[in-house]
């Protein structure tokens, strides 16, 4: 076997790192996740460029991308030939794909007409760059399609084994545990847009049948961006064109010899030409000087065309359906939808890491512009009270990385009861599942005891839930656990005002513990009584009752301070 070149070695190492980081993007017993998880995206100059254009501020999170641009300016498109995991995947498969002639339709200025409108649209506040970012395409294909399928298949085998041999499967348990703890997703979540994600990825592979690195040289917006910078690189391959007596370079070079002249902005520094040159002429040297290719690419009309189409593009997708928008619940800490759309790169990292599988990519509910952005979907998964992982992995802080005490107060939406559906109202049976799961220590969902008649006319005592809006952070566990089938009796709806809950609403237990220590031996009844005014020890029939007029039978037991204002004041169901 031929000794792999340094570039190949680097590609393999980075692909491995990429894979390891991908698999590690999962809760494995620690509240914090390695900061390296999102490092590929943070070093992605396309993410940086679109972020700068859309937000007009810099974030230190993306400093690695700035470094990457700097090095590209010096060395050229080494990222594509040495680092990019999608490029590596292409290099791995391309040898097995028979080539036909290059597609002429992809040649010319097409790639600039992809990159420039994306960047200019970002300038007009519509940041779509992530949709075509090569790293995002790869991560999404893995997250939405391949990884769940892989996990589900292995798990299916494991379950099948149980059906086959029963308890004896335990003998193999250590082996499976190893797999599960280090390689498999904890739960296999199947995503919408899996098909589109797979289509993009496999489409790129399919393009390899026309020429090598077809995507990289003709389409990839990141590659194009890096190409523009690499034109100024003083690090050049010499000679700068095919030699008259030998054209080996044309067959050896994966990207740069479309014509007899070497296209520096396409050179990925794979160094294949050095080993491929029989005459020993090919070399790389430090040779400062202006761009050599004729004319400035993109030409002025491409630039202006890109600007115009970017401007037009930014206006195409503004429409939102209000009723769909009510269910656009953003991850915790996201305060403004506009701001979020400007920052989100749609990389899929947050969806991958989400503990309960609460985050799903938006299809159309956030407008076409919002495709692939994460949306909390409570019926499928809820936001875990003490978890802060999505903020930790977000490469652009579109989801802010909050300390857990602050994240608990972050408002995703507000829960609303549907009394036509909710069991104690619609069926007159007790339930309280939403209330018991509500993670807010003082309970954002409470119930009042109502003496009423059941559907057969027999008098019963019912606990009917109500929502204390000031305490609800919209985590959605209520909607998730509602025992009704299909549609839940309680639903979280988006709100514009996502001001965090008051600090007092969720005082961290740490802060309260000092007060608690002395009362450990038995005076705590009083303490509980003071703060809650509701069911302490001995408060047999007392519930946190809420003063409502129509509830004749409600047992009133003080009610906490939050009860003073009627939480139903703005409730549409009332």
């Amino acid at each position: 076997m031929k000794r792999p070149s340094t570039a190949r070695l680097s590609q393999w190492i980075f692909l491995l790192v990429f894979a390891v980081l991908f698999v590690k993007t999962e809760y494995r017993g620690s509240d914090t996740i390695s900061a390296a998880i999102n490092s590929f995206f943070r070093a992605d100059p396309l993410v940086l460029a679109s972020y700068l254009a859309a937000n007009r501020t810099f974030t230190w999170l993306l400093f690695p991308a700035l470094l990457m641009l700097g090095f590209t300016l010096l060395l050229g498109r080494f990222f594509c030939g040495w680092i990019c995991p999608l490029g590596t995947v292409l290099d791995l498969v391309t040898a097995r794909i028979k080539k036909t002639a290059p597609l002429q339709v992809l040649k010319g200025n097409l790639k600039y007409y992809l990159l420039l409108p994306l960047l200019f649209a970002a300038l007009f506040h519509v940041n779509l760059a992530g949709i075509l970012d090569p790293l995002a395409i790869l991560v999404r294909a893995l997250t939405f399609f391949l990884y769940p399928l892989f996990g589900d298949t292995l798990r299916g085998g494991w379950v099948g084994l149980y059906r086959l041999i029963g308890e004896r499967r335990d003998l193999l348990e250590p082996g499976f545990n190893l797999l599960r703890n280090h390689l498999l997703p904890f739960r296999e979540t199947f995503y919408p847009l899996a098909f589109l994600s797979a289509l993009l990825f496999f489409g790129i592979l399919f393009l390899e049948r026309y020429e090598t690195r077809n995507w990289c040289r003709n389409l990839c917006p990141l590659g194009t961006l890096l190409g523009i910078f690499s034109r100024f690189s003083p690090f050049k391959r010499l000679p700068g064109r095919l030699c008259g007596d030998c054209s080996n370079c044309r067959s050896v070079c994966p990207t740069s010899f479309d014509s007899d002249e070497l296209l520096q902005e396409e050179c990925v520094l794979c160094l294949e030409c050095l080993t491929g040159c029989e005459k020993g002429r090919a070399r790389f040297a430090w040779k400062p000087g202006g761009p050599r290719s004729a004319g400035f690419v993109p030409q002025r009309r491409v630039l202006l065309g890109g600007l115009a189409s970017g401007f037009l593009l930014s206006g195409l997708f503004r429409f939102r359906r209000p009723e769909a928008e009510a269910r656009v619940l953003r991850p915790p800490g996201v305060q403004s939808e506009d701001d979020f759309l400007k920052k989100c790169v749609r990389c899929g990292e947050c969806l991958k890491v989400c503990l309960t599988g609460a985050l799903y990519p938006a299809i159309a509910q956030a407008g076409v512009e919002g495709i692939y952005t994460p949306v909390v979907t409570p019926r499928l998964g809820y936001c875990e009270f003490n978890c802060t992982l999505c903020g930790q992995v977000c490469p652009t802080a579109a989801i802010p990385s909050l300390p857990v005490a602050e994240k608990r107060r972050a408002v995703i939406g507000k829960a609303h009861l549907d009394k036509n559906h909710c069991l104690p109202f619609a069926r007159r049976t007790n339930c309280i599942v939403c209330e018991e799961h509500c993670p807010i220590p003082q309970k954002a969902i409470r119930s009042e005891i109502v003496e009423t008649l059941d559907l057969e006319g027999k008098p019963i005592s019912l606990q009917q839930p109500y929502v204390v809006e000031e305490l609800c952070n919209g985590c959605g566990i209520c909607e998730n656990v509602c025992p009704l089938e299909g549609k839940s009796g309680i639903e979280v709806l988006a709100v514009k005002d996502r001001t965090p809950l008051k600090r007092a609403a969720i005082a961290p237990p740490e802060a309260r513990s000092t007060h608690k220590k002395e009362s450990g031996t038995g005076t705590s009844e009083d303490a509980a009584g003071v703060t809650e005014g509701g069911g302490g020890v001995g408060g047999g029939g007392k519930e946190d009752a809420h003063p409502r007029k129509e509830s004749q039978g409600a047992v009133k037991a003080g009610g906490a301070a939050q009860d003073a204002a009627d939480p139903y004041g703005s409730d549409a169901y009332r």
């Binding site: 059906r163 904890f186 003490n386 049976t429 993670p439 656990v481 608690k516 705590s524």
Partner: protein, 293 residues
Amino acid sequence: MRRRAFLKLMGLAALFHQWLLRTVAAAEGPVVAVASGKDHAQITRNAIAALGGMQRFVKSGDVVVVKPNMGWDRTPEQGANTNPVVVRTVVEEALRAGARKVKVFDRTCNDDRRCYVNSGMVAALKGMKNVELKYIENERFKKVDLKGKALDEWELYDEALNADVFINVPVAKHHQLTKVTLGLKNVMGVMGGKRGAIHKKIDEALTDVNKVLKSHLVLVDATRVLIAHGPQGGSLEDVKYLHKVIASTDIVAADAYATTLFGHRPEEIAVTVAAHRRGLGEMDLKKIRIVKA
């Protein structure tokens, strides 16, 4: 002389028929051992010892299931999950009595991984030999014919059903619907499916399940209890330290006694009443023998 004859008979009977004395004792009603003290491992051992020691329940080679409540992503101090010190001690005792394997699990309400870690159970059981702390695996739920009053059938966890000894280790805490949650309710942790749906007839439903899945030993952790905002709590202001462990072979009796710690009477708790009515155990505190340990 009749008194002497009776004593003689009793003495001889004790010699030859040990079980007779036990029957006499049983006629007095079930024993509930209540151990108090700040050393939670020690009081757990004391409570078990007061019932005759773990070897009374666990025989050499048995597979034992210890079922704590660790359903919530809460720390041990927050009182929503069974005290890991108590659980560890029960596991140790079972191993000492000769258990071949001790399995610890619970079907959690929050994310399994977070609950297992933050309840302190992973740390408490770390490195113990022949102890399994596994997440619930859905394929192990078996449809069981309950023929109950509320539930005809339900999916129950086969490892709990197949265990030689099932030790129920609930944490005593407030519950919004059932007022308190104790041993009878702790078996919800082996129920599959949409178990939230049983809340509409929770008293009969829990009795249905407890009739099929018998707890051989119940240890109620009342070292610290949630007195409000149960079953999940969250605020340390709702946690009260009682430093007690209650043990019994009679799940209704254990629950009935533990209920009094919250200032309730057993008759107020619908789940206890239903279980007693349907013959699962004794709830009349006057008929229960309470042994301080």
